[in-house]
């Protein structure tokens, strides 16, 4: 996936990739990555868990704007099945420029 991401960034489009295998991202070096230590087939979490999926999408978009160093891999703080997302504060309020 990282190779595709690099190809897209190369034509001038800013990209963010979600990774569930940190090792691969470290080797392929995509421009920007958020990492979750979650099982295969579940990069955005569990089926029907809307707050969880929303949190991952919003954190990914935040990282897309806030990462300034090429190749950065940001470890998201969400632990598999250990978060309720009730207290999750979305970064919507942050004006993403």
């Amino acid at each position: 996936m990282g190779l595709i991401q690099r190809a897209i960034e190369r034509v001038g489009i800013a990209t963010i990739g979600i990774s569930i295998v940190r090792d691969y991202s470290e080797k392929v070096k995509p421009p920007r990555t958020v990492f979750l230590r979650w099982p295969f087939g579940h990069p955005l979490g569990e089926p029907g868990n809307v707050p969880q999926q929303r949190a991952v999408v919003l954190e990914s978009l935040r990282a897309l704007y806030q990462i300034k160093v090429p190749g950065t891999i940001l470890d998201l703080p969400f632990r598999w099945r250990r978060e309720t997302y009730a207290d999750y504060q979305s970064p919507i309020e942050v004006d993403l420029q």
Partner: protein, 170 residues
Amino acid sequence: MARLKNRFLARLTTRFPALAQRFIAAYQPQETEGAIPWVQPAVSLRQAKLALVTTSGIHHRNQLPFDMGDVDGDPSYRVLNGEELFYDFQITHDYYDHTDAEKDPNIIFPLDRLRELVSEGVLGRLAQTHYAFMGHIDGRHIATLLDKTAREVAERLKADEVDLVLLTPA
């Protein structure tokens, strides 16, 4: 037979992540050298047009499935119509257990979550066209991906005036 075995292993590695670690260790992508491609987002999120690109093997039912018979994978891509997904979709990818993704494809392709952000005014708009690959591309197909298909998709996104791309694996 090989496909059944792959699907069985995919179920095991999804249920038992420790096993997955062994598969991860067995497959090592080539280290990429040189400068990392980089551009800053050109517009703010609330003005941006975003497209999804996934390696989860999701596609429309009437499209040719990915070739699961080739051990080096299938470097081709499918053009997805965001307005029709998820009314018709299937997932062709034997290397992960997509039982949960069949129930809710947003866990591999967060289209509904992005639609919500557009309706809330957080995100400018969604592209109508998105792209799917299958992961697990190896051997001779890496060159095809790099020289042809990934480049084609990048050019198509550019032509569609997409500002941002979110990539999801499986």
